[in-house]
Structure formats: structure tokens, C-alpha cells
Amino acid sequence: MPDNQYDAIVIGSGISGGWAAKELTEKGLKVIMLERGRNIEHIKGYVNAMKESWEFPHRGSRTQQMIKDYPVLKRDYPLNETVLDYWCKDSEHPYTEVKRFDWYRGYHVGGRSLMWGRQSYRFNKWDFEANAKEGIAVDWPIRYDDLAPWYSYVEKFAGIQGSKEGLDVLPDGEFMPAMELNCVEKEVKKRMEAYYKGSRHLIIGRSANITQPHYARTNCQYRNRCWRGCPFGGYFSTQSSTLPAAMNTGKLTLRPFSIVTKILYDKDKKKATGVEVLDAETNQTYEYKAKIVFVCASALNSTWILMNSATDIWPDGLGSSSGELGHNVMDHHFRCGASGTVEGFSDKYVYGRRPTGIYIPRFRNIYNDKRDYLRGFGYQGGAGRGRGVEVAEMTIGTDLKEALSVPSDNWGFGITAFGEMLPYHENKVTLDKNKKDKWGLPVLSFDVEIKENEKKMRADMINDAKEMLEAAGVKNVQANDWGYHVGMGIHEMGTARMGRDPKTSVLNGNNQVWEAMNVFVTDGACMTSASCVNPSLTYMALTARAADFAVNELKKGNL
């Protein structure tokens, strides 16, 4: 084999890319994984993981320099001193916003698997059926039962803690022992479930934090500093999990600083032959050849690559013949809910910092519930005992110090809703050929907004939160709406959707690009609808399933 020849190329090293690399190498393929950014080594690369608050010059705050360098990231919480290394510098990676779109990106080995929220839920059977039933967009080409074994497969390896609940709306998985609800959450659960007679549920947030040793990983140490990278391997990331597995096969080459500029396409064979790579450091161009290509560059960047590929045949890029490439951008809309205080637990406190909260699965528009909008939402949240008892106004000195050194009398309880956003054709990304990044590559332009359905849903997201907390005896309940702009959920989905018909979709039911059957897109780009649950576990399952299919097809000589 020439040294640029592989069996498979994986573009991107985040959650999806890591899974593709692991599955393909473990099935015997020689694989190169291309990552546009720098390498971050497991443990060694987590430079802030063991630092204490006082070791950060600004104790985690954002400086004016950071605000200047990160004009997008500054729009929400991710911009702070403790995790700055993991977010790409917006000022060096421009894009165009026809409408505001908050795009928070991680350009390094591991991608956002290092900083993800780790909440891990299966889509339910209704999620895969809803588009067809309601006449929205196009039908998913798969059903829950197609994916269920793959959910099990990835859960067992990733390590998901959670409780079995037997709910249709939130299917159980292969769980590690669940983390514990705290005493206040248990009480609120009891009261809430009694009030709604078992039609609403409060459970521990299922997350990719391990509660038992798993492979070479140490179980969660309850530091709740996951975002800085975990030196114990306590949560699933490319570095802690899929990368070492792929490396163990001896069949993986990892190439950082490799910006894939296009997929090379042979129009006679109607197949990809490889990719073109721009070395981000040297600006040299290279070609890598392979039998199959897995595109896992994160939803919108995967589509960017397709848009730049095979343009001599399709001006709008590989996969554009349906007219859907770049369309149907989705996210989860959130940042609203309610919070209040819980009395009567001043003799209880917690030990340890649990890296997950509670989850209230969707209850709207299922069974007999019918609202004036489609789909639904779930809540994440939790109870905690804050610090500081009330002091007389304008106190300083010993009294103030003492008041701020003890826990509050009451506990706080808060929930935030995460709602499903529908796929709208007119919500799209396109190439802005007038704006170039520092490598001279055209940038993406965003034209995305939430519409009536999401706005109506938000009213319920807020009102239901308030009503539920009050029903559960939470006091001083305040509803809140901090405002949402698309992208803030950091759950970009769509733009290369799966479907049953090449005329209306970019990918088929095995994540193959209709026009190039040896190209697989398995990250958020492939999503046909968004559900209201966090999507990463679904990317893992889809990737493992597609990799299995791809290798079988290769063996049969079909690719």
C-alpha cells in the first residue's frame, strides 16, 4: 500500500469520529483519523484539570482580552478561564450570520467530547415516527427497533449511569449503577409524582459518567470538573474511551492539524476515492486515499466539506442533488424554566459534587395529551443547598464573614427545559464565498431561526415548570426565560438528513450519501428530526451501526 492509502478515512475526532475510528479499526480496517486542530493527549493535555480556583489568576473570570478574542463564545457561559483551551478562537474562525447563530466549536483532538454535557438519552419510538405522522419534513428511514441494539452496544462501552424506569417516553438502556438523587430531589420527586398520579416522572439525569471502574478508566471521583478534562477518565470522551481502543488495534493513524478541504470523487465509479487535506500548520496540501470515508466533522462542518466536494458535477456539492444539503438546521431551544426554595431540610447537606442533575422526561403531546404545538420538551435541573444566610443590610466584618461561611437555611430547586426544534427547509447554512478564513477557505453563512411552534412550546416550558414546582411544594417559585438564540444548545443537527428518497434527503438509512455510497455521514448532520433529548448517544449508536454496515458491504464487495 502506498503510504497515503488506507482502508478508511475518518474526518473528525469528536464523539462520532472517535466511534467510527474504534469500530472500523476493531473490524480490521487500516484507518486514518483526520483532525483539523491540535492534539490533546489524555490526562497530560488536561492542563487545568487539577488546578484549584486560586491557581487561576482571574479565578475563572473572563478578561477583556478574552471577550475580544471570542466574540461568539462570550455570548454565553462557555467563555471562562478554566476551559479556554478547548474552544476555538472565534476571531480566527469567522463565519457569517444572516441571523444570529451561536456556534461554539472545539477544534482539537476529541472535539467537544471533552466539554460535552454528558447527558445520555435514547430517542424513543415516537421520535422516529413523528415526522411521518405529522407530515413534517421527511420520514426517518429507520425506527427505534433498528437502533435499539446499537444503543445497547454503545452504552456498554461508553459507560452510562442511570436508573431503569420502564418508560416508553425515555427507553431504558444498559446502565451502570445510577448516581443518587439527593434528599430534596427525592422529596420533590415523591410529591410531584403523587400530584400528577404517575404521569410525570423525576429521575436521575442519565450521564456518561462511570460509577464503576470500566476498562482502564477510574470511576467518577465526584469533583464535577468534567469540562476541564478528567484525569481519571471518569466520563466518556474520545481520549478516555474510543481513541485508546482504536489505538490498541495498531491500525489507527491520527493526524492532527489536518483540515479536510474536499472529498475526492470519481464520477465514473460514483464513489469517493479519498480526501484532500490542508495542513493547518504548513499550508501544504495532501491527498489520502481510501475505500470508505466517514464524515464526522461536527454537523455543520461535515456539511461544509460536502458542499466543497465534487462541485464540478454538482455546483452545490456532493449530496446536494436533493436540494436539502445545508437545510433543516436544528438545535434544542432552552434557557427557560423555574426555580424556588425548599424548606425543611436545614439539617441535611451533601458530600461530593455529583456531575449530573435530575431529569423530567417529556410529558407533552404523548398519550392523550394534546397541545397547540407539535412535539415536546424535557427538563434538566436539581436541588442544591447554597451558601450564605441572610444578614442585616449593610453588614460588614465578622457578621458578614460568618453569614457567608455557612450553608443557606433553605435548599434551592431549579429546572430548565430543553425543547425540540422542528426541521424547517428554510433554516439553512450556505457557503459564503465572499468571506475567507486564514487558509483562504470560504466560510459558512447561517440563516436560522426558531418559529411559531417553538415559541408556543416555550410558553409551556415556562408555565409547566412553575406549576410543577409549586405542585411539589417548592416555595418562592420564579419562572424564568433567559432568552434563546439558535446554537446556544450546542446541539447542532440536520443539514445532511437521512431519508428514504434521494430526491428529498442527503443520506439513506445507513448514513450513506446517495450519490457516493462509500461516504458515510454519522454525526449531527444526519439527523432527520431532533427529539428533545440530548443527541450525542444517538450519534454514537448511528455511527457504530453505519460502521458495521460499511464493513459488511466492503466484505461483500459492494463498496
Binding site: 479565578r59 473570570s61 473572563r62 478578561t63 471521583q221 465526584y222 461530593g352 460588614i396 455557612v406
Partner: protein, 212 residues
């Protein structure tokens, strides 16, 4: 309690948004030359003001936490030019007001006089911030109305009027102290690596709170 909650708590105690907090989004001019000049005297003064706000008791106070040095870093790096100028002007004003009230500089005052003086300043700051909130609310509404008529790219973030300088000092003192090593490990309880989680442990009134 994480950092965000600490900032919320401080905002609650001092009646103003904490500069440098996640929710402070003002995109402001960044000066190339530092607009602030923190002399050793100013740092010493801030240590003493800090010590009056959070004194040494059975556990060390602001001075031991080197709050003065921390304030210098924060004002220099995290404050906008406008906030910096309010802060630096405030340092001068603090001295002048103190001389009027106590007939001597803050450094020359004894602990009781310092306490009395800062309690007076608290009142002044509270009044100032309350008036500021009222006028800023009007300004904010006008700003939002103006923004509504603009394309989103031309919309500007509302830049609130800075708090009273004393509020700035107090916020930075509380933030600096409770995120310092002594504050987190001696006045509060801290465990870098708890190893397990228990969501229901007995609490006896008066026991220290967790720092994180």
C-alpha cells in the same frame, strides 16, 4: 457551590452584577495601554479595606488572602476602561471622604473607625446603586426600543452604568476571599476529590459550608 453560584451570591449581597461573571456580556473597548496604575500603596489600602469587610477571626481574613493583589489583576484585566476609571477615581474619593469623616487617612484609622467609615460608605453606595438602577432601567428600555428597529447585527449590547466604586471593592473582596486558598480551605470546607457522593448527610447548625 460553584463559581457561578458564588457570583450570584455576591451580586445578591452587594446589589449589583459582578464584573467578569459569565453573564456580564458587555463587549467593550479594550485599551492597549493600561488605564490603571496600582501602586503598592493602593494594594495595601485595598488589603485593609478588604480586611475590614472580611476580617481575620478564628480563621484568616482578606489580608491573608492577598485580596489587594487580586483586585489589581481583576481591575486591570477584566474591567472595561469605563469601569477602571470609576474604580481608580473611587480610590481617590475613598481617601478624601475618609479624611472628611475621620480627619485622617483610612490607613491611619483604627479598626473601629474603619468599620464605622465603611458602614457609612455602604449606605452611600446603596443609595447610589438604587438611583443607578432606576435611571438604567429607563435607559435600558430606550436602548431595547432602539435595538428593535435595527438589524440584529447593528444592535448593541446595553452597557449599564458602573456600580459605586465601593460596591466594586466589596464584590472583588468577597470574590477574591472566597475563591482564595485560605478562604476555601480554612473559612470554608474544601475537598478537591471527594471520591463519592452522598445526597443526604446530617448537618449541624454552624458547620462550615463547602467551598465548591
Amino acid at each position: 457551590m460553584d463559581r457561578r453560584e458564588l457570583l450570584k451570591l455576591i451580586a445578591l449581597v452587594t446589589g449589583g452584577t459582578v464584573i467578569g461573571g459569565e453573564l456580564f456580556l458587555s463587549g467593550c473597548k479594550l485599551s492597549d495601554k493600561p488605564a490603571v496604575n496600582f501602586t503598592e500603596d493602593i494594594i495595601a489600602l485595598l488589603d485593609e479595606v478588604g480586611e475590614t469587610i472580611i476580617p481575620a477571626t478564628a480563621t484568616p481574613g482578606s489580608k491573608a488572602a492577598e485580596v489587594g493583589k487580586f483586585i489589581k489583576v481583576m481591575v486591570t484585566d477584566c474591567y472595561t476602561e469605563k469601569q477602571q476609571s470609576v474604580f481608580m477615581q473611587g480610590i481617590k474619593e475613598l481617601e478624601e471622604t475618609c479624611r472628611k469623616a475621620q480627619s485622617k487617612s483610612f490607613m491611619e484609622c483604627n479598626a473601629e473607625q474603619r468599620h464605622e467609615f465603611l458602614t457609612g460608605l455602604e449606605k452611600e453606595a446603596k443609595k447610589f446603586n438604587e438611583n443607578r438602577d432606576k435611571t438604567d432601567e429607563v435607559r435600558r428600555k430606550e436602548h431595547e426600543k432602539l435595538n428593535e428597529g435595527l438589524a440584529w447585527k447593528d444592535q448593541k449590547e446595553f452597557e449599564g452604568t458602573p456600580s459605586h466604586y465601593y460596591t466594586m471593592i466589596k464584590q472583588l473582596t468577597l470574590f477574591g476571599f472566597f475563591s482564595s486558598k485560605t478562604g476555601m480551605t480554612e473559612t470554608l470546607r474544601h475537598n478537591p476529590s471527594p471520591g463519592r457522593y452522598d445526597g443526604s448527610v446530617p448537618y449541624i447548625k454552624g458547620e462550615k459550608a463547602w467551598a465548591e
